[in-house]
Amino acid sequence: MADKKTPQLDELQNGQWPSFVTEIKRAAVKNEASKDLLHLLERSYEEKRGHWKHGGIVGVKGYGGGVIGRYTDLPEDYPHLQAFHTVRINAPSGWFYSTDSLRKICDIWEKRGSGLMNLHGATGDAILLGTTTDQLQPIFDELSEEGFDLGGSGSDLRSPSCCVGPARCEHACYDTLEACYNITNAFQDELHRPMWPYKSKIKFSGCANDCTASIARADCAVIGTWRDSLIIDPEEVKKYAASGMNIQHVCDGCPTDALKYNAETQELSVIAKDCSRCMHCINRMPKAITPGKDRGATILIGGKSTIVQSAFMGWVIVPFMKMEEADDFEEFKDVITRIWEWWDENGKTRERIGETIYRLGMSKFLTEVGLPAVPQMVYRPRANPYVFWPEDEIKK
């Protein structure tokens, strides 16, 4: 159906934003499947519906995940889309690439797939979009050859991701790229071989700005912070003042009222114990204010989207943890392993860890995983008096 028209998609080549239609057409020149995709998509635009079936179990030797199977429900009309699977490549920390690395992917994908990809998927993988079942193993073999590995899918550890961190950001409170790389390598089995009640995700953000949206999108969010006081450079404060910045206005935005400015003396000060490390003032005055020296991360658990019980944002389970390459991120690995084990024992099928804790209670979770209960875990204590008392705290 090469010469069938695609008026609706053509319209989407107009406008100033770069067009995915143009991209599909570029691929279609070299690849039949991409050409079929163009026409199938036009049909979807006409009928206002997708034409993909549930994926069957397809994959590569030795792994349970990394591939999403896809088949069109109209194989007669679009024969090259009969099978059109996705291959997820675990992207490098911070999505940094040498052009060599990217070109290697392109070369393999040109030979063995549609030539279309997502850079990147919402979880962070480099997604090779559309190939046939027989190509899966060769693709994996060749990618592997070039040093790449597959990402997660199914009920396993999904490919962890991290913000640009120390590579290009002055706010990074720990090495997000190294943490992500090191920890991803430490849990390769969990990542490649689904064995849990459901998926589990980790995202690393270097500070409370949370540029990976980890609190919303990761079962485990690792958010950089510090334990001492943020640091103020008086000289730079004066320069900002000279530049006409309204520094009082910055103080007004401080949620804890911890930041004080004296307009006469042009002195800025912080009440360290009141500061909640929200990053606001540092964001506004990066030259003058920097995070403290005793740095680490806050660990939050439970983030996920809507299905089934409602969206959950991650909540604090460890207020401060050191995140050092020096000790191989030992404490984090230890805690997350205990958490996964607990979830594995207690979670129902298709129940994210946040839902499991919600169902069974933080008290049970903390006790069994061995984390101390602290007020930082909650915005406020319980309003109901429905406290459970363990046998041993009761008089017999």
């Binding site: 919402a122 929200c278 030259k287």
Partner: protein, 353 residues
């Protein structure tokens, strides 16, 4: 034969020399213009990051094009952001403008930094998924074309982070975005007993329904759905192809606003529904683009400098948000699920409009 479990590429071999030299040494940054970030290191080194809008769904030709530019202007390295933009990492100030020009030549927009609208985090839609209630890439293209001026300029009160998810699985961060576009189904699944009988674990299919609308149907060796209880989440369809949820006539888009994830100033917030349904109207979804523009521009016209969408709405009150935007409020916007109680106005202080 593939090597198993070798893990992702090592980032260390994929970062440019200037970053190797200044890794963890960055002192501060400036945002000289939309799409250009200037990071300055303790060492005095200056790195210019040029942020470029990408369709995310790209061809190998596109990737080779940007690689070519990266070789020419960035010592052969580049990166992608958490929002799927491309970032060119320029160590030589003199190369910034030429690179921007070269990007313009191949039609790639520079922007998305600071008080602008960045790329829309989005998903597969009709291109590749089996549960979508709308397309992803097409809606994103239509919306970004319409709001282009806000990507290439920094004239908004604050950053505006948008997400699109094509079904209630909500891949992406739609549930915590300044503005979220979400594909929604509106009719109960049509049960194909044939398919269900094919090796379905009836109990787990029954259990998967958030509202308990699914009951076993022994007669058919299948299930039945209490339609009064179903709110079309599609979870049963994700579990089982026999629960056909797609309904072209009634599928469409809902709009949620006011979410955030950063902790700056205010705590992270969920996005909240303000428009329960807009029909799919491809290829340009005009009703969606104008609804989005109305919300964005009402916010831009009324918010204080530095105030994110959700912070602005929480300050003026949601009742006032509906007045200012002219969006109609209805019972559909009132929560009726597990955590509804916290959304009820348990107080007598409110604005009349």
């Amino acid at each position: 034969m593939a090597i198993l479990d070798q893990g992702p590429l090592n980032y260390k071999e994929n970062i440019p020399p200037i970053i190797v030299d200044n890794y963890g040494k960055w002192r501060y940054h400036e945002n000289p213009k939309a799409g250009v970030l200037k990071h300055v290191s303790e060492t005095g080194a200056e790195l210019y990051s040029i942020r470029v809008g990408s369709p995310r769904l790209v061809s190998i030709d596109f990737v080779r094009d940007i690689c070519k530019l990266a070789d020419e202007y960035c010592d052969g390295y580049l990166r992608f952001t958490t929002r799927h933009n491309v970032e060119f990492l320029v160590s030589d100030a003199a190369k910034v403008e030429p690179l921007i020009a070269a990007l313009g030549a191949i039609g790639l927009p520079v922007g998305g930094t600071g008080a602008s609208i960045s790329n829309i985090v989005h998903t597969q839609g009709w291109v590749h998924c089996h549960t979508p209630a709308t397309d992803a890439s097409g809606v994103v293209k239509a919306v970004m074309d319409d709001l282009y001026e806000y990507f290439v300029d920094m004239k908004l009160p604050a950053q505006l982070k948008m997400s699109l998810a094509c079904c209630l699985n909500m891949c992406g961060a739609a549930h915590c975005s300044d503005l979220a576009i979400v594909g929604v189904h509106r009719t109960p699944p049509r049960i194909d007993h044939e398919k269900i009988r094919k090796g379905t674990e009836i109990p787990s299919l029954v259990a998967c329904c958030p509202t308990g609308a699914i009951r076993p149907n022994p007669k058919e060796k299948s299930v039945l759905v209490n339609e009064a209880k179903c709110m079309y989440c599609g979870n049963c369809y994700t579990m089982n192809p026999g629960m056909e949820i797609i309904d072209p006539q009634n599928d469409g888009i809902a709009i949620l606003v006011g979410g955030k994830v950063a902790n700056a100033r205010t705590n992270p917030m969920f996005s909240r529904m303000v428009i329960p349904f807009i029909e799919n109207n491809p290829p340009r979804w005009p009703e969606v683009t104008s609804a989005v523009r109305n919300i964005v521009e009402t916010w831009a016209a009324n918010a204080r400098k530095g105030e994110k969408m959700g912070e602005w709405i929480e300050r003026i009150g949601w009742e006032r948000f509906f007045t200012l935007t002219g969006i109609e409020f209805s019972d559909k916007l009132i929560d009726d699920f597990i955590f509804s109680r916290e959304t009820f106005r348990t107080g007598a202080a409110f604005k009349y409009e």
